[in-house]
Structures are given as structure tokens and as C-alpha cells.
Symmetry: C3
């Protein structure tokens, strides 16, 4: 990979100060960069490193006086780092073509330039898009569709009838489309409510290792465009997660929860069933959400409180022994006052 | 699938009003049902839909005046739905016979009408019952027995010597029979206590995706008949779960916990080791159980409290700043009173 | 396995009372032991059983009067049990050699006496040490190294460039080296920060079923010698876990957390990012750690408190309704006092 500084400036929406014809061949941290590398300065703790870096160019938010090379003034150097490091990152390791140790059903179809590793299974009427990479142990159930450029890492299971978008990354051990959890108590024990829907995942979603997304009882469990899900997250049947929302590790989302756009759900959060979470809401890690949250609302604790109230109450919980002592002293003095009367 | 209304009434223990010879060929919701379908009315929010449905028959709890077709008056229409939808649901997708891309040890035995997908492994002296379906990536350790009609979805691992009942459903990625977690601190570090027992799972159990059930240190980790376990649940060594109990997603059950019959354990609950949970007890989601619960006891919070007390204390936690202010005011007034004396 | 009592005494650092030439052929509990077995007495509840056991020898901490056979007086009979039971435990079930249903890349190398089950995949330039056992469904990414005597159970995924030590046990469904979770918000949605580091796991580590350990953004997520990790644990990018530390089931460790040596992290604990946990610290189950802990510090609750304070405050939380009532009564009496003045 080789890009001119002008191309890079274009990409990160920045302006060049200095020579815009330099060729950039790598991305590195300030202290490790060499000639040909571009580096990034957005944390004032590293201003010494920025002055001493051997990078050929720097992305900065304001012109840096003590760096002699070319600079790109960009609105968000950290975003610039993510974009450029992504471009220069090593590609996902590919298997050449379709392994003869994989099993693709005769009615399965594959696009151009796919990598199907050994020990992959794809069932009836599956449709696998262009450039898709399926690692060993991937299971693709009947009628599943996978969009272009998606990567499913090792031992991922996608059950029948689920729809996987384009540019997806599904990390190892994920299960998409397992049955939702629903039973009715009967005389002989719990009777299963059949789970007849599916899971639909739109483009540009990433799902962490060993996460589970259940199929809907009816209709669709729907993960929308750009959602990012961490490891060991549980998403129950009929949940909807809106565009670009983020779910951190070990969060658990109960049935029929409706999560809006650009929401952030912290690690180990639990959300009870049928609750709505408004767009841009944020739930702190470890919280238990028992009621719906409005657009932009922040919440913390179990059950959740507004963060400021939560901080106040948490501080007072530590002081409960003190409060209790004061109450007892007040009672004692009150008695003494009474006696004197 | 085609059943007469009489057969259906028998199944759901209901009485027919109208023509009992109608043939039913499907199950559907009130708004989507067509001729030949049976539908269900148990939620008054949908009474308009019940009046307008095109279903050939309805299951109701009381006779519905505004529906002209046949009706079955049944004690629990929701249970009727689960039973009938289960009958009419599409069958689990099957592989025809035993794939030559599977590996069954020569000492392994399989019953009639099994489906062994490609990439299945079954070890020495394994016994696989009639009609069992093993999806790709299933691992069956040495001497494991699997009862009739059980389904193990993709990438399930059942370790050596574990016993799996009949009519089981084990969702993708589950691990049954991994080692329990036990160490003794030694001079050179933690010394493993060997885990020499197994896991026994009785009939009619369902286990969600990516859940883990550890083998006993000695003896058996025992999941009894009719238990339903959700996704990402952890069950430690030597746990016993009684008949028809329900464990919701991400619950964690520590070693040697004894859970009774018909218990409900909410999502993300943690139960400490050696605790007993009585029959019919219920633990609310997100709770931490530090001591045993009696038969029928309900518990909430961390550590758990009786639900009514929990609700009261939670409400007061929000009012702690107010309580604290009142204490300070009382102290101030008390001082003023003292001064006046 | 057959050891003389003298050999065993040497192993457990004990002294023999009685015949030191007895041959021991098994380890068993007091009530089940037969001639040839050695048993262990360290729990006074079982002193009757100790008097009646048919074991040929006992390991005890003090000489037992009512047992007629040979005894080993050892400093820690429970540790002696773990050591000896480990020696006498049945070996891990092995596949004979390398299965022709496995796929090892032509540039992969394997040591002496390996067991490679069917349906294993090992990528380019992988190095697999002596006596390693890889169960079915194991995925070994490019350039991964696995030390001698390590066991990877079914459906474990180790992604490219990760380093796995010697004498490791990785239970089924674990994922080592999935991408860390990092994004920068951009105009078009979340932009992934590429995860360019790896995971290094040192010798003698054991990892429970379906746990996940993410690769570092840069550098290494490092699990040091002797660490023991339970099931369904999440370890994020750039975490360091010090020697012999223990992480119980469903714990979640956020990015860049630094955990010291001999630390114990309870089940379902969450630790926020960039926090340090000192050597020998202990965190109670279900806790939420929001700030760093010192060496030897114990912590409980969410957020964590010192255990004694936590116990006090928890007791007072139950008494909040009572405290609130007292405050109201004080206010009422205060008013009455005022009136009288």
C-alpha cells in the first residue's frame, strides 16, 4: 500500500502544510515511525515524542511548531488514525478458493473471489456473496444469505433463514439465529413456543466472539446498519438494534427490546423485556434497565437512575453508617430534651 | 400436517362450538390467518382482529360473539398456541443419513433414522439414539450416550462420559462436560483438582446457545427432566437443577448449588456455591444470591431481599439525598433548641 | 499407575507412620476406597469415615488414632489430594497420530507424539509442540505457536499470530485472539480501530469453556504463567493478567486493565478499562470495579467498597425503611417541641 500525502489529506478531510507529493507506505506510533510512515498526534502527553518522531508526515489538529516534516491539519486525528490504520492493516488471511474439505450443498451459490476454508458447511439454497471469507468450522444453515465482503471467523454458526449483510465481521464462536427462549407452563412441564422468525443483520455490522443473537418468535430480530457488538453479548428474540449503536461485552438484551440509533450500552448491562431505549441514549456498565429511556437519556445503576442522582446516592450509601449514627444521636438528645421539659 | 378440529380440541382439552369436522392445515396470527388456519385469542388488545380474522377456527377462553366460524373453548389458549404451533412448525432441517465427511469411531453405534451432518465427530463407544440429528461441528466424546429424538445444533461439544437424554435440544456452541473449576494453592502455583465426574441431562431439556455445563469433581452435575436453559448460562460442577426449572440468559450457578423443581432464575443472576434454592422459588434478574432460599420464596437484589422490601429500599435509595438533608436540618434545629434552653 | 508410599510421601512432602513399602494403585474418597487405594482426611465432618475406611493408607495433617493402616503426615492433605488425584486421573483421550480428516497447512510443523483429531485446521507456519492434543473443530490461525503438552479441546479457535504456552488446557469453544473492541465515531458511523497486536499465553494456564480473549490493538494481551480462567470470561484487548491469578466464571475485564499476581477475581465481576489491580488483591463476586486496587486490597460491591464497610452498608440498606420512619418521627416530635415553646 502506497498513498501520496495529497490522497491521504483528501481521505481524512485535512489540509496539507508542506510537501504534498510525499509517498506514505505505513502507519505507526510516534516513537516507532520510520521514514515513509505517517503518524498521529492527538494526546498532549506525547508532545515530546511528536517533536522527535522520524515519521515522514504527521496528522495533527493544529500546526505543530517542533515537527519539521509535512503535516496534515485534520479535524479529528484519532479518526484519521482509525481510517488510515485500517487501510494499511494486513488483510484477513484468505484460503485460496473453495476447499475440497468444505461441504457446500449443490444448491448453494457462491460469488466471485470467495475464500471457503476447510470444514465449512453451507446448506440448501444458501447464497454467499463476492469476496466472502468463511473460516474453518463455519456453519451456514439452509437459505442463509451472506452479503459481499463479509468475514465469518472460525466456528461461527448461522442458522437457517437468517440474512447477513455486506461488509460484516462476525468473530469466532458467534451463534446467529438460535431459537428465542419462550415457554408456556403446561400440565406436563414447560411447552416450547416455536420460534418461527429469523435474524436479519444489515451492512457494516461487527459482532464479537461467542455472542448470541436469537431468531424472532415471529418476524425478525433486526440488527441495523453499522451496529458494533462486543464479545459474549446476548440478544434475545425480536430485539431491534438501531443504526450505529454499540453494545459492550456481556450485555444482555431481553426479548422485544427496541434500541434506537447511536445508543451506547455498557458492559454487563441487562435490559428487561419490551423496554425501549431512545436514540443516542447511554447506559453505564453493569446497569440494570427496568424501564424505557428517552432520546439522549443517560442512565446508571440497578435499577437505573440519572447519573448525577446515582453518584449522589452512591456516595450516601457509603455514609449510611454515619447517617444511622446521627439518627440515633438525635433520638437520644430528643429524649433528653423531653425529660427536661 | 392436517388435523380435524375434533383432534385439535382433544389435544388442547377444549370444547368445540360449531363444525368439528373442519380440516386445519396451519396456525397463524389473527391478522395473517387464511382459510384452513386456526388462530388464537387471549389478549384483549386484539379483539378487533379476532372479529375480522379469516381463520377457519379460533381457540378462545370464552365464546367470542363477533366471530362466525368454529371455536374451541380451551382453558389456556396461549398454551394451546404453543402446542399447536409446535405441531405445525417446520421440522428441523435434516441431513439424509450419515455424511461421509463425518467421523464416527468404529465402536460408535447409531440408532434408526439418524441425521449425521458433515464435520461431526463421535468418539469411542458412543451411543446415538433413534432420530437423533447432529449438526456440523458437533463433537461427541468417548462413551457419551444421546437419547432418541435429540437435536444437537452446530458446533456443540459434549465431552467424554456425559449422558444426554431423549427429546433434547442443545443449541449451537454449547459445551457440556468441560472441567469444573477447582484448584488448591501450592508452592509452585495453583494445583488442579482433577474433575472426575460427568454431566447427566435428563429428557426434554433445552439448552441455549453457547451455554456451558461443567462436569462434577466426583459424581454428577445433574440437569433434570424438562429444564429449560437460555443462552450463555454457566453451570458449575456438581450443580443439580430440578425438574422443569428455568434459567434465563447469562445466569451463573456456582459449584454444588442445588436448585429445586419449577424454579425460575432470572437473567444475569449469580448464585454462590453450596446454596440451596427451594422448589418453586423465583429469583429476579440481575440478583446475587448469597444464601439459600426456601420453597416458593421470591428474591430480588444483590444480596437478595424479599421483593416487597427490595422495592421499598430501592425507592429510599433514590431518596437518600433527601433523607440526608432532613437529618442535617434536624441537627441544626436541635442545636438551636439547645441554645434556647 | 503404581507408586510406593515412600514415593508418595516424597511428592506431598510428608512423613510416613507405618509401612512405607506399600504399593498404592488408586486414589479414592474415604467411604469408597478399597485395598490399594490411598485416601485423605482433612474435614473433621468425616472422622467416622476415616475410622472405617478400607484404604491402605491415609494422608492426614495429624496422626489419626482410629486408623490402623499407614499414614502420611503432610502439611496440606487437600493439596496432597489434588496432586495425587491428578497423577492417578485417567489421561486425556487421545487420537492416534494425525487424522487424515484434519487439515494442516504444508508449512505447519508438529512435534513428537501429537494427537490431531479429525476436523482440526492449522494454518501457515504454525508450530505445534510435542505431545500436543488438538480436538475436533480446533482452529489454529497462521503463525500460531503452541507449546509442549498443551491440550485444546473441541471447537477452540486461536486466531493468527497468537502464542500459546506449554502445559496449557484450553476448554471447548474458547476464542483466543479475536479483535479488540475499538471504534472512533465518524460521519458515516463507527470507524474500526484495527487490532494489530496479538495474545500471548504463558505456560501452565487453564482457560474455561467459551471464554474469549481479545488481541491487543498494538502489542500484546498477556496472560502470565499459572493463571486459571473459568468459563465465559471476557478479557479485552491489552489486558495483562499476572502469574497465578484466578478469574471466576463470567467475569469481564475491560481494555488495558492490569491485574497483578495471585489476584482472585470473583464470578460476574466487571472491571472498567485502564484500572490496575495490585498483587494478591481479591474482588468478591458480582462486584463492579471502577478504580484501581492496591496490593492485597479486598473489595466488594458495585462500586466496590472495603468488605467491612460493604457489609455495614448492606445491612443498613435493608433498614432504610426503618431509618426513614425514624427521621419522620423526629421531625414530628421536633415540631411538637417547637409548638410548646
Amino acid at each position: 500500500m502506497r498513498l501520496s500525502l495529497a490522497e491521504i489529506a483528501d481521505l481524512v478531510k485535512g489540509e496539507i502544510i508542506g510537501d504534498e507529493q510525499i509517498d506514505i507506505t505505513g502507519v505507526n506510533s510516534l516513537d516507532k515511525a520510520e521514514k515513509g510512515d505517517i503518524s498521529f498526534f492527538y494526546d498532549t502527553r506525547y508532545s515530546d515524542q511528536a517533536g522527535n518522531t522520524r515519521a515522514s508526515a504527521l496528522v495533527v489538529s493544529e500546526k505543530l511548531q517542533n515537527f519539521p516534516g509535512s503535516q496534515i491539519i485534520a479535524p479529528d486525528p484519532r479518526l484519521a488514525y482509525a481510517l488510515l490504520a485500517g487501510l494499511f492493516a494486513p488483510p484477513v488471511p484468505r484460503f485460496h478458493g473453495i476447499s475440497d474439505k468444505a461441504f457446500l450443498h449443490e444448491t448453494s451459490s457462491t460469488g466471485n473471489n470467495v475464500s471457503i476454508y476447510p470444514m465449512v458447511y453451507a446448506g440448501k439454497d444458501t447464497v454467499i456473496g463476492d469476496n466472502v471469507i468463511l473460516f474453518p468450522g463455519v456453519f451456514i444453515g439452509d437459505r442463509v444469505k451472506i452479503g459481499n465482503n463479509s468475514v465469518l471467523y472460525a466456528n461461527v454458526s448461522v442458522m437457517q433463514d437468517c440474512l447477513i449483510g455486506a461488509n460484516m465481521v462476525i468473530h469466532s464462536g458467534c451463534v446467529i439465529g438460535s431459537d428465542g427462549f419462550g415457554y408456556v407452563p403446561g400440565e406436563q412441564g414447560n411447552v416450547k413456543i416455536p420460534q418461527l422468525g429469523n435474524v436479519q443483520i444489515d451492512d457494516d455490522v461487527e459482532i464479537g466472539a461467542n455472542s448470541t443473537i436469537d431468531r424472532a418468535a415471529h418476524g425478525t430480530t433486526h440488527i441495523k446498519k453499522g451496529v458494533k457488538i462486543d464479545n459474549l453479548v446476548q440478544i434475545a428474540h425480536n430485539v431491534v438494534v438501531g443504526e450505529n449503536s454499540i453494545l459492550v461485552a456481556q450485555a444482555g438484551i431481553s426479548g422485544s427490546v427496541d434500541i434506537g440509533k447511536n445508543v451506547i450500552i455498557g458492559g454487563q448491562v441487562g435490559i428487561r423485556d419490551h423496554v425501549s431505549i431512545g436514540d443516542h441514549a447511554q447506559v453505564g456498565s453493569g446497569s440494570g434497565v427496568h424501564k424505557s429511556l428517552d432520546e439522549g437519556e443517560a442512565a446508571l445503576g440497578n435499577p437505573t437512575l440519572p447519573p448525577r442522582l446515582w453518584l449522589k446516592t452512591r456516595a450516601l450509601i457509603e455514609r449510611l453508617p454515619d447517617m444511622n449514627k446521627k439518627i440515633r444521636e438525635l433520638e437520644k438528645r430528643m429524649k433528653e430534651t423531653k425529660k427536661k421539659e
